[in-house]
């Protein structure tokens, strides 16, 4: 059943948001007096918006002390479209500061806890959005995804996370992290709701020249199309890098279900060294772009400003006290790879890796309609868990979702099981501009399992 047929009321959503706030910290701001008289497809449906999307008159912080008091003077296009649809904004959700990070621990208002186990992280950077949906506070939330920031928290939270094709949803009003990789997408509790949300917020936007022309498709209708005869693949080297038998069991069950639906699945092998290079290339490109994008946070135009003897000193002081340690370390990395002496060897080579990966996947997409892989190699980590960052588990199994951002592919994670009482997810990625293919495979696969519409927390179902 979709959220159009039954959903929590706005008042109930606000009440639930307040009830859970101290425990899980989903929101930077809860809005309990929101008004929206528009009559659109989402009329009266409560939702949450990641706090890096601009909302006129509503504080928008990107979970950073640098923007803790910032009230935008314009609306992000995605927010405008949701207002026009009649949807009701319950609140702005916590993210990893400036969307840089994947733990949900670096927001200026505190850490976000996983509703399935408070000792575990929910991932990020769309941490509060994933948490608000998993807790049943809202049927959908908007997130952004630069490396895996919608699809990995979706896996850890037992919800659906969909990142459409690059440019399908306007980025106007999204605080840029790495512009060539940034996507706007959604988190929901079933695939049909994701299709409904993206149908509502997609479309060309004159304010975002990289937004795609309208495709005039209804994903809500197209996802039910028969998938018999579709061809998919998985990457052998990624599967071999996963050491959890339970995750592999769930994956193999999904493959069997798809085969039963008439889908042909093949094992494909690609150069392991290329897969190992994906995360280093991602961190190089994204840190470099972030360094540039966030240079406007000077302490002069936005946020708190303390008097100092000169403009230089204001900037130095505000940026020193305003950014968290993690952000500053990422910026230093960005600065390092952009130094004249490092650009060719590091930054440009990272962009070359990006092309090699995308060329390889595009070549495979000539033969196949989609690929399917476990979204993560483990359940949500404990807050103090450590992983060897030079291992194949980290470089290959934990970070392959970045491929979706390198190529701008539509990519969706849906829940596909539980390991040690924690949810896990399966990811499906299809060709650029064929969002309905990823959605339809996910929709039909979802019907073969019992993890649709699940809720964590006190209302657990």
């Amino acid at each position: 059943m979709s959220m159009l047929e039954t959903h929590i009321t706005y008042d109930e959503a606000v009440s639930r948001a307040k009830k859970y706030q101290d425990r899980y910290n989903s929101f930077v701001t809860i809005i309990d007096d929101y008004q929206n008289e528009n009559s659109g497809i989402l009329k009266g449906i409560p939702y949450a918006l990641k706090d890096n999307l601009s909302t006129k008159g509503i504080i928008t912080t990107a979970s950073s002390n640098m923007l803790k008091d910032y009230i935008p003077s314009f609306d992000a296009t995605v927010y405008e479209k949701l207002k026009a649809s009649g949807a009701m904004l319950v609140g702005k959700t916590v993210l990893d500061e400036l969307a840089m990070g994947g733990t949900g621990t670096t927001g200026h208002t505190g850490i976000v806890k996983n509703p399935w186990d408070e000792k575990r992280m929910i991932g990020g950077s769309s941490s509060g959005s994933a948490s608000a949906v998993a807790l049943g506070i809202v049927p959908f939330a908007i997130g952004s995804d630069t490396g895996d920031s919608i699809r990995k928290p979706a896996s850890y939270a037992g919800v659906v996370g969909f990142k459409p094709t690059y440019g399908r949803v306007s980025r106007y009003g999204l605080f840029a992290f790495a512009s060539s990789l940034d996507h706007v997408g959604c988190l929901t509790r079933n695939v049909l709701d994701s299709a409904i949300v993206i149908d509502t917020i997609k479309g060309h936007d004159k304010h975002d020249l990289t937004s795609l022309l309208d495709d005039d498709k209804s994903y809500r209708d197209l996802i039910k199309n028969d998938i018999n005869g579709k061809k998919g693949f998985y990457l052998k080297e990624i599967i071999e890098s996963i050491d959890s038998d339970e995750i592999l069991d769930c994956f193999n069950k999904n493959l069997k279900s798809l085969k039963d639906l008439g889908v042909d699945i093949s094992e494909v092998s690609i150069d392991k060294n290329l897969l190992r290079a994906i995360y280093p290339a991602y961190i190089t490109i994204s840190s470099a772009e972030a360094t540039s994008n966030n240079s406007n946070l000077t302490g002069l135009l936005f946020g708190p400003r303390e008097e100092q003897p000169s403009f230089d000193k204001i900037m130095m002081h505000q940026r020193t006290i305003g950014f968290s340690n993690l952000i500053k370390r990422r910026f230093v990395l960005g600065s390092y790879v952009l130094q004249k002496e490092n650009q060719e060897k590091l930054f440009l080579n990272a962009q070359r890796i990006r092309r090699m990966v995308v060329n390889k996947i595009n070549e495979l997409f000539k033969q196949y309609d989609f690929y399917i892989l476990p979204a993560t190699s483990s359940i949500a980590p404990l807050f103090d868990d450590e992983i060897d960052r030079l291992s194949d588990k980290y470089l290959i199994a934990e970070n392959h979702l970045v491929i979706g951002n390198f190529g701008g592919y539509p990519s969706i994670t849906i829940p596909n099981g539980f390991v040690n009482k924690m949810p896990i997810g399966i990811n499906i990625t299809s060709r650029q501009k064929e969002d309905e293919v990823a959605l339809s495979i996910a929709y039909h696969l979802e019907q073969t399992m019992n993890y649709k519409d699940q809720i964590a927390g006190d209302e657990r179902v």
């Binding site: 190992r276 020193t320 950014f323 960005g334 060897k345 070359r352």
Partner: protein
């Protein structure tokens, strides 16, 4: 191992500083980061590839110029307490 002084230079170029403890954490992180960079650098055939800056080619239609009404200089100056060199002059806010 990368020197802390170098890291401090990179940070200062971006107009912020960190504590000595933070620089040491970063120095340790750079050990791994530089090994990650080696993975990129050692990939066969990389020299012959064109860097990729965008997920795919798109057609960009430039926005039509819209004519909008704006204040004339005279009108803008009408309420200005002080002007200089065709600019509004505002009180100095930083000592």
């Amino acid at each position: 191992m990368i020197e802390v002084d170098k890291l401090k230079t990179y940070a200062n170029k971006l107009m912020f500083d960190m504590s000595n403890e933070e620089y040491l954490v970063l120095q340790k992180e750079f050990d791994t980061i530089l090994k990650h960079m080696d993975i990129i650098d050692n990939l066969e055939g990389i020299d012959f590839v064109e860097p990729m800056t965008f997920p795919f080619d798109i057609d960009i239609d430039l926005i039509d110029d819209d004519t909008i009404e704006s204040l004339s200089v005279e009108e803008a100056f009408r309420n200005a307490k002080s002007t200089r060199n065709n600019r509004l002059q505002v009180p100095k806010v930083v000592s």
